[in-house]
């Protein structure tokens, strides 16, 4: 029983990390209806930049964030305005996969050139300790990841719900033409939406660097999991993706301790198929997803 509790606890923490890593994907789909295959590649780009800041300046990896987050925001706006916005609208979904696949390969190649193919890692003192509550061990690095994810997502929500930019962004997500009619500069807003998405990748990459060693091709194992998360959650719904991430993380953790690792990994795809069969719009997607 305590083993199941342990699996559940670890699953919740890992689910929080999944939520952070997937939130950007959901945003891109929302604002542009594009599938951003390069998102995990950007995560690892951020992880490498964190590594550089950490090793050359010797500071805590999180101190890299004030530099990397604005940088990635700018990068996101640039990617949207210079590349994605130029794709032909009638074939956007397909072409965006090809384009972002190309971006992912480019990032991987550049990382290989600058950092070589060998493994890098950021290991902090606290990364191997854990907090024990009633026989359940909670690793500090996972607690930190969960905390950072929760904080980032809370800020993201606050921006989306409270700010004028957030309202414009949500209007653009819900109905682009109508938003334009009431005077929302949807092109610019979409660009910023992309920027915000990549900014979450910057935070996610920093957290990832703390948790796992990485090499230039590390991003490929993440895209499948993260895609499953946003489809189960409902494409375009940041809140849905976050909930789905935590649920899938818990399922993964419990299946792992009770059955085995192969089944645990498969759970993501089982849920993906179930969602597509039973509720293709996702469990929290609502009206937005109905339109596809």
């Amino acid at each position: 029983m305590s083993l199941v509790l342990q699996g559940l606890a670890l699953g919740v923490l890992t689910g929080g990390l999944y939520a952070l890593l997937a939130s950007g994907l959901s945003l891109y789909f929302g604002v542009m209806r594009v599938v951003m295959v390069a998102h995990p590649a950007f995560l690892f780009l951020a992880a490498y930049l964190t590594y550089t800041v950490h090793t050359t300046l010797g500071v805590d990896p999180f101190l890299a964030l004030p530099v990397i987050v604005p940088l990635f925001f700018g990068l996101g706006v640039a990617v949207q305005r210079l590349l994605i916005a130029r794709l032909a609208p009638d074939n956007l979904a397909m072409m965006s996969v090809l384009l972002t696949f190309g971006i992912a390969l480019t990032i991987e190649g550049l990382l290989g050139t600058f950092y070589t193919g060998s493994y890098k890692s950021v290991s902090m003192e606290y990364a191997t300790r854990s907090l024990t509550i009633g026989g359940v061990h909670l690793p500090y690095d996972k607690i930190i990841a969960f905390g950072v994810a929760a904080l980032t997502l809370a800020v993201l929500f606050a921006v989306l719900v409270k700010s004028r930019f957030g309202q414009a962004l949500r209007a653009t997500i819900q109905h682009r033409e109508a938003a334009r009619l009431v005077g929302v500069p949807t092109e610019r807003v979409a660009g910023y939406g992309f920027g915000v998405g990549l900014a979450t990748a910057a935070v996610g990459g920093t957290v990832l660097a703390l948790i796992t060693p990485f090499f230039p091709a590390s991003h490929w194992v993440w895209i499948g999991k993260l895609m499953a998360v946003i489809v189960v959650g409902g494409l375009g719904s940041v809140a849905g993706a976050a909930l789905a991430a935590v649920v899938l993380g818990m399922v993964e953790g419990v299946v792992l301790v009770t059955v085995d690792a192969t089944w645990a990994t498969m759970m993501f795809y089982v849920f993906l198929f179930l969602t597509l069969l039973v509720r293709p719009q996702g469990f929290f997607g609502g009206r937005l997803a109905h339109r596809f």
């Binding site: 990364a127 191997t128 300790r129 854990s130 024990t132 061990h137 996972k142 796992t212 090499f215 194992v221």
Partner: protein, 409 residues
């Protein structure tokens, strides 16, 4: 239907183009049969580009260091050695046509093997059909030895399942009070990684060490904490990982977080890489690993290899180069023993027969082979002792004593 036909056309054109490439690779000048006293020509196809180009180049360098050293000593039976390399681009079709043309067009005296089981099998089929001896540096998969090859020998200390043999011996010979009682195994879903862990598992289980956890995880696994949780619940004396790199680091970190303190921890591959100690910080101390070759070992020719490699290529020799060098050493010893080196069936048979029953002193230690060409030795065991990699087993190669039980991590 039209599409099928189009597809077929494309495939046949590609096939034609490939054959054409293979043909143009061949130098036109075939060796006249009467000319026996020229250099000893050795034909080798290697993956110098494509998937396996890194290890392919390592092995090429190993072969080159060996040829350089043999020639410095006056060659094989008084004849200089000349290596003829082909690049098979990691493609199993190319590797077959390469060996075909090396044997029939270039009429080489000997062939050496390529890299990796995937290329060794098709290459060995060609060599076997021409009755050529085939000593190979890298083809450890079980399938290689199930093809019925008579002239194939794998020039490394051990196939995957024998990697931990010295450690298994050490543990089973401990006095009953000190011997571990329970063991947990976690392995990547990969024939090589699993092979190493299961080899040790089976030997320990036979000696009465109870298997309490036996997990297999897919290559996509990114979170090792739940696996470590399972191991933590079983409180094993020994933890063994059939790992590559990321998973070895992931497991070590997760085991620390879940407060698992085994008396012994062994992981394949990961700890032998230079990046490992930095990735796990202080936790590397006393972790064990099987290792096929060590730059510090004093086996026959090893220091010569290390030194000459540095002179020829800069940098440090690695295990791939050592495996290439080992192939050379074995064939050299066989040629010297049977006193012939030519492509005739009689000579090749004599060489194969000799290799099948003799023991060879090589840079990876003494080697001998069973009737399927499998090496009969085991890998050395390395351990991090005071932050340095030391060889702790076997007795004759050790640079430090094995520390057991290990320090908590």
């Amino acid at each position: 239907m039209a599409r099928v036909r189009k597809g077929l056309t494309i495939i046949s054109i590609c096939a034609l183009a490939l054959t054409a490439c293979a043909k143009t690779d061949e130098p036109g000048a075939a060796q006249p049969p009467g000319q026996q006293r020229g250099p000893v020509r050795i034909g080798i196809s290697l993956p110098l580009t494509g998937d396996f180009s890194e290890p392919g180049k390592g092995i090429q360098e190993g072969y080159q260091v060996w040829a350089d050293r043999v020639n410095a000593k006056g060659g094989l039976l008084g004849r200089k050695v000349e290596l003829i390399f082909r690049d098979d681009a990691s493609d199993p079709n190319r590797v077959s046509s390469d060996y075909e043309s090396l044997i029939t067009q270039d009429k080489v005296d000997l062939v050496f093997g390529p890299f990796s089981s995937r290329l060794v099998i098709p290459a060995a089929k060609v060599a076997e059909s021409y009755g050529m001896l085939f000593v190979e540096p890298a083809g450890a998969a079980a399938e290689v030895f199930e093809q019925g090859f008579k002239r194939l020998f794998y020039a490394a200390p051990a196939i995957a399942s024998d990697h931990y043999n010295y450690l298994a011996d050490y543990l089973t010979k401990l006095p009953p009070g000190k011997r571990p009682k329970t063991a947990a195994y976690a392995s990547l879903d990969d024939p090589f990684a699993q092979g190493t862990a299961y080899g040790l598992r089976d030997k320990l289980a036979a000696a009465g060490v109870k298997t309490v956890v036996d997990e297999v995880y897919p290559p996509e696994t990114t979170d090792f904490a739940p696996i470590a949780a399972k191991i933590a619940a079983a409180k094993p004396d020994v933890v063994v990982g059939g790992t590559q790199f990321e998973d070895s680091v992931g497991l070590v970190r997760a085991l620390q977080e879940l407060k698992v303190q085994p008396k012994l921890a062994a992981f394949s591959t990961g700890p032998t890489l230079a990046e490992f100690p930095a990735a796990v910080k202080g936790a590397a101390e006393h972790i064990l690993s099987p290792v096929g070759w060590s730059a510090t070992a004093t086996f026959t020719g090893n220091q010569e290899l290390v030194k000459r490699y540095k002179e020829l290529f800069g940098g440090d020799a690695n295990e791939d180069a050592a495996n290439g060098y080992t192939v050379g050493q074995i064939v050299e010893a066989a040629v010297t023993a049977v006193k012939c080196v030519d492509p005739t069936k009689e000579c090749q048979d004599k060489l194969a027969q000799h290799i099948g029953q003799a023991t060879f002193d090589t840079v990876v230690g003494p080697l001998s082979f069973d009737d399927k060409g499998r090496p009969e030795q085991a890998h050395m065991i390395q351990q991090y002792v005071d932050g340095k990699i030391e060889i702790v087993l076997p007795e004759q190669a050790k640079t430090a004593d094995l520390v057991y039980p290990k320090r908590p991590w």
